[in-house]
Each structure stands twice: as C-alpha cells, then as structure tokens.
Symmetry: C2
Subunit: 295 residues, 2 copies
C-alpha cells in the first residue's frame, strides 16, 4: 500500500501560538465512530492546543500525491471496473496499450502591460510598453526552438493582443481563443488582502469557470498522443497562479502568495504517469530590467 | 477571530479513488474525546471512503496563514506576555515602535553546471559552460540594479565558484560562506521518485540542517532594519525548492515538484507583516536557450 500510516496536519493560527494537531492513523483502533476498519483508517489523537513552538524539524503534511488528479490514470480506470479503451492506429504495436506515453509541456504566458484605466475590457488594451513586452516574449518563445502545437488565449483584449503579437514570431502555430481563460477570482486567497475584495458572487462564478479551465487544459496526454507536446496559453495572473497551485497539488487558496511579471513564462510539464513539475514560474529574464512590470 | 471555523482536509491516495475527508469544526459539539470547548475546536465528521469524484469546485484546505511562522510577529510576542523591545536609535521617532518596517528581498541562485563525475565535492567544479552561466547570472543581477546588501553562498565547491564569478559583477557586495546551505535531502519527497533514494540517515541529518538554514535566512526584517534589503544566496536546487515550499507555507514534501535551471534566480519577498511572496522561480530567461541546463 502506498498510503502513509499517519496523517498529521498542523494548522498555525494568525497572530497566535495556538496550534491544532489533527492526527489520523491507520491503526487497529476502533473509536467512538464505530468500526471503520473497512477503510483502514481511524482517529486516535485530536487536540493539542497552544503547543509550544520548539519543534526543530518539519514534518510532512502526510498528504499523498493523487496520481488520478486528472481522472486519466489508467490503473484507476481499471480499479473502477471499467475496461481500458485500447486505442491504436497501428494494430501491430503492442506498446500502444491505452496508457499515456507523451509528456505535455504547457507554457503559461501572462499578458503584457495594459491600460488599467480603460472603461471596460475593450478599452483595456496594451500600453506601448506592453506591446514591446509581448515582442520580447514572442522572441524568447521562438528562440527556445520548441515545436509548439497550439496557442490558446483568453478572449480578453489584453490577452488577445499579447497572443497576436507573440503569434508573429511563431508562424504556423494555430491560434485559438477561449472564454474559460478570462481573468477572475478563482478562490478566496489565504491570507486575505485588503486591497482586493471581490464579492462572493465573483468567486462563485469565476471559481467554477477557472476550475473548468484547469480541467480542460491541465492534464496528462491522451493515450493517442505519440510525441511530447508544447502548448502555449496566454492568459492572466490569477488564472496562472491558480493553475500552478492546483497542478502541483498545493493549497489552491495559496495562489496569491505568487506574483508574476507581465509577459512572463511559467512552464508546467505533465508526465504520462500524472506527475507534474513546475520548470519555471514568471520567467521574464529575457526582458531588459527597465521593461519589467507587474501591473 | 481570524481563524476559520471549519477545517477540511481532502487526501487523495496514489493510484486509487479512495478519498479521506477529515473535517474538524468549531462547533458546540462535545464528542467522545471529552469537553474540548476550551480550544473551541471539536470533531464532527471523520470518514468518507471511496467518494465519487463528481465535485465541480475546489475548496480551500482551510489552513490559515501562520503570520508568526518566523516567530517574529510583534503581536505574538505581546500575546506571550513578553514586552516588545523598543529599538530606536532616534529617540524622537515615534514610529520606531519595535515593529518591522522594511521588506526583505531574498534572491536564491542555483549554482551553475558542474562536473557530475567528480570524485568528492572538491572535484565537482564548474564545467566551462557552468562558468559561462555564472557570468550570465552575474550580469543579470548587476543589470537589475538592486542595492545588494550581502551574498551568502554554500561552502560546496560549485556554489563557491558560482558566487565568486557573480561577485565580479557586484563589486563591494560582501561575500560570506555558510555550511548550512550545502546540498542535501531536506525531506522525503511526495510523490517519491525511483531514481533518487537517500538513506534515512541523510534525511535525518540534512533535514534538520536545511531547516536550520531556512530559519536563519528566511524571515521578516528585524525592527532595526530601516530600508528594504536585497540579499543573494547562492546554493542548491533542493535547498531552494525546500525554502520556497516552507516560505509559502506549501507542503514541504512537495519540493521535488519544482525544477530549477542552473544559474537561475528565484526571488522571495518577506514583508514586515510576515507575508511572503514568490516573485519568480527559476528565472533563467537571461541566458541564451543553448546555454540552459538542469544538471
């Protein structure tokens, strides 16, 4: 079994020293919640308040990596009693057994600087500096020499404009727009900030939409995909930060602990096994320092 | 009160669909563990195995941000009944009330490419490409035009050599070496990898040392510090990845989900409030693509 026998979650409280430790262990204990041995999990330890902060090492949170996070893990499909679909265009290929084989590289580009005081999205177009930044980003993406398969961009004006400029440097790469990738409020950030307080309805609508975008774009390769792919997604800071937290299985509410320069490149890889790696976040080293902005 | 009333932790298991939900709520419930109302926490919900994956939104993990993560939160010092130390070199200053005022910028540099087949650390020196990479990093750091206060480097040969080359571009910046920053095994990675399996004793020793390095270098400014600072730390991929997870209060065992190019720049800011932000991770856009390596 690959699960850990002990889970420990330590939650620190803002501004205080109180610490709550909730520990669940796969012991033989039969607690007040009845016989839970079917799940091989039970609780043995609950509360430890105001624990003095003298620990000198840091423990794992105990959370396992969910290999079936994108619901495309072939072994999970088998576990669920569903037959794998054998997809093969070459019947002689014995290796083509329904398992993903290719790695997906997803390059997330934050749009470049735009006119913040514009009245509505259509007026929030790139500034002259923003257009220049997009040229730098396009040049860098071209210089990386990767065989890009597609460039998807948010339908907002600043992302569309950024993508169009980048597109000049990547001739032949298909350009597609998508409403799901528009900027929004993905989930209430922790810690909260005072300068940005969307209404509950914004989280309600945007949260589901941005999660839908995550599920559409961030997942392992289809078993049919034979070669590694390189896809560019031009969108927005909140969307990218949320994608990164979700893809790495980090707390999604932590997205606002990350900052991204305009026109920067964030690179995720998704292996056939479902492993995810962040290769760079907010790379903008290809821009002269006096062209860097974060607006 | 700033703590959340509900904690939900959802743990996915490798390769399976079993889901464990441990939920603790600050309810009036008095469970089998006795009267825990003193801590205003109790448990009401325990196990939910093999939950079907039909959720369409993603919930917060419920973990608050620990503002006293570096044990330098003045309000926590007050809570503990200790008097704030009023540190003022200018007695007329009423604002100098023992609270941190400056932001610390910490630029973490991964050493550049080195001879992997060297026999022992002293033979694992930079390759010609590695020396070239360090020149690019030094040039970029200089071009950023920041008022660097200090450069600390790991005592390992490849980090020392990288720092010495960078140092040429930053005249007047004090260079200090530190054993705590040496490469090692910070904590067992989740998910585990097959190609890298340190012995338990390595985690035992390195884990405490790298955590000690984190506590020495990553914290908010001292109340005495009047201006924002910019510090460079030249060290190693595992150390930097662990620092990032710890600083952002992301699961420390997730450090191996992150990759870093040689000579890349990772930038953390620590605000006087204890807020931490990651401004970039593994930025190496200042290097020509054919000079990029990850060894």
């Amino acid at each position: 079994m690959s699960y850990r026998r002990t889970i420990k979650i330590v939650c620190g409280f803002a501004g205080g020293s109180a610490v709550l430790v909730v520990a669940a262990a796969a012991a033989e204990y039969q607690g007040c919640f009845g016989h839970t041995r079917a799940a091989r999990w039970s609780l043995f330890n609950v509360l430890q308040a105001a624990q003095p902060a003298v620990n000198r090492t840091v423990e794992s949170t105990g959370n396992a990596w969910d290999f079936n996070w994108d619901k495309r893990d072939p072994s999970a499909l088998l576990t669920n009693g569903k037959k794998k679909e054998v997809v093969s265009e070459d019947p002689s290929s014995e290796q083509d057994n329904g398992k993903p084989k290719a790695t997906r590289n997803i390059l997330l580009i934050r749009h470049s600087q735009y006119n913040l005081s514009g009245n509505g999205d259509h007026e929030r177009i790139l500034t002259p500096l923003g257009r220049e930044q997009a040229e730098f980003t396009g040049q860098r993406l071209a210089a990386l020499g990767l065989k890009y398969d597609i460039m998807v961009h948010s339908t907002m004006a600043r992302a569309t404009e950024t993508a169009n400029i980048i597109s000049k440097y990547l001739p032949g790469v298909e350009l597609v727009s998508c409403d799901l990738l528009r900027e929004g409020a993905p989930i209430q950030p922790v810690p909260p900030v005072t300068h940005w307080k969307p209404d509950a309805v914004q989280y309600h609508e945007d949260g589901a939409r941005i999660e839908a975008a995550f599920r559409r774009y961030i997942h392992r390769a289809d078993p049919k995909q034979k070669e590694d792919s390189y896809e560019i997604i031009v969108c927005h800071a909140n969307v990218i930060r949320y994608f990164v937290c979700r893809a790495l299985q980090f707390p999604p509410e932590g997205w606002l602990r990350i900052g991204l320069n305009n026109g920067s490149i964030t690179w995720l890889t998704v292996r056939p096994s479902g492993r995810v790696a962040l290769r760079t976040l907010g790379d903008s080293g290809f821009m002269p320092p006096d062209k860097l902005t974060r607006t």
